[in-house]
């Protein structure tokens, strides 16, 4: 693998995930891929789909916001992308600023989701500071050096990258938050602890969802996630994305998938993967 697409800008959690995956490739496969940032998730995924890059590292699920809809919808639309790997990145927000102390900070910048995730800490420690939303957690960082009264909530990792002091860390209200990323590429992987797939139901009746779930249960396969997404055709018409705790090359999975074809339509298998837990 020589190149990996990811959502920019520098210092974002997506770049952190891509960097960790590149490091993992170096250790396990002696490969040294280059990272290519894109300004939307859709563009990063398309780059991998058309072969502009060998893979795309994109967020799929966050413990606060839930599923990343762009990723699910793109994966359904593009028939040639499969899951190569799965990474879980802990959310570790820090308060970055050139201020000498918290007392002199008047404004805090960050992405709306990051601001939301630090509301309790902000209420206690920076209750009078104005909060301003930016399009990413690192967008405001270049401005910090010229103004000691402003701060940004960013990944701790970005502090080193931009050489900005860390005033407080971690400041996210819930320490167990994390974002899950998928590495998407063009090869189907059939071995791993988890398998992801998606389907529509015959006649678009969610009541018919019981049957596919029973098929997995009958084979002793546990489901670790279910997500519905609209087909965008009409209200009440969904596709379902399911993660199971079994490998694609497990005979029980194969047996369930054979029967699944009969009670679903447009069944798509995205492949198997191990869960890689990243420390940051």
């Amino acid at each position: 693998m020589t190149s990996i697409a990811h959502l920019g800008p520098a210092g974002s959690y997506s770049e952190l995930a891509a960097t960790n995956y590149a490091h993992w490739l170096k250790i396990h496969h002696n490969q040294l891929p280059t990272l290519k940032p894109y300004n939307t998730i859709a563009k990063a995924i398309k780059a991998a789909a058309i072969g502009e890059t060998d893979a795309a590292v994109v967020p799929i699920e966050n413990s606060i916001g839930g599923s990343v809809r762009d990723t699910l919808d793109m994966l359904w639309e593009l028939d040639n992308l499969k899951i190569q790997n799965n990474l879980v990145i802990p959310i570790h927000h820090a308060l970055l600023s050139h201020a000498d102390s918290l007392n002199t900070i008047k404004t805090v910048y960050s992405h709306p989701q990051a601001l939301t995730q630090c509301q309790k800490w902000l209420a206690v420690n920076l209750s009078t500071a104005v909060q301003i939303a930016t399009s990413s957690t690192t967008e405001a960082l270049p401005r910090l050096s010229s103004d000691k009264t402003i701060a940004a909530i960013s990944p701790l990792w970005a502090a080193k990258l931009y050489d900005i002091p860390t005033l407080a860390d971690p400041i996210n209200d819930n320490p167990d938050n994390a974002t899950r990323f998928w590495v998407l590429g063009q090869h189907l992987v059939s071995h791993g602890s988890h398998t992801s797939l998606a389907f529509r139901l015959p006649d678009n009746t969610p009541g018919a969802l019981l049957k596919p779930l029973q098929l997995f249960a009958t084979q002793g396969i546990n489901m670790s996630r279910i997500e519905s997404r609209p087909t965008k055709l009409a209200l009440g018409d969904y596709r379902f994305f399911i993660d199971i705790e079994a490998s694609l090359d497990d005979p029980n999975t194969q047996a369930a998938l054979q029967l699944l074809k009969n009670c679903t339509r447009s069944l798509k298998i995205f492949g198997s993967y191990e869960q890689i837990q990243v420390q940051n």
Copy 2:
């Protein structure tokens, strides 16, 4: 009922839904409620929860974007709000402008979702126009009168309200798109064609979802929707929102709900409602 909270600004689909509900109340209950706009969904819902208004009309699901996460999360958090009614509003986008023809339009403004929903029409009819995102479908309307080279994609309804000519209509690529709204208030309604509820599973294992779904199937009750939302505590920990096609006061529903208590935790019943289809 004397007051209804909704997401502003004037001319939005949320105001259209609230206006239709007020009209329905007038016809069926001889009531004339006033509408109160709020600038976020959360604020509109809170107004109804603390009794500042008698109800809140809020979007719950869109055929393109999917579930409205703010509404689901708020409804779970606030224990005293129930569903009073359910309205389906067709999406009917129009191109509003003071331009004499499409040829002179250089810029098109609208909410990102509305721009997305009209991409095919824009590619054919306004392929060279620059598209600029705004925070609502009506935000750009006050600016149209001073510049004949700009247009906005807005609900057809807004054309009358702001007295701006309609150049093309409908322009949404899929004519069957719609948004579903719930009227939230403080009374539990136990009669209607549908019932909505939510729960967490014991030990947070999505695999345990099979049991609740089987309970409804055993009672001959169809499920029309299932949506998962993160509990925000840890990755892989979800709550499930389910709509069933049965009334809360139906003995079959009551039998299923009795058993449901044993295989779920934090079960919340939001009440029953009829589906009101609105023409616009």
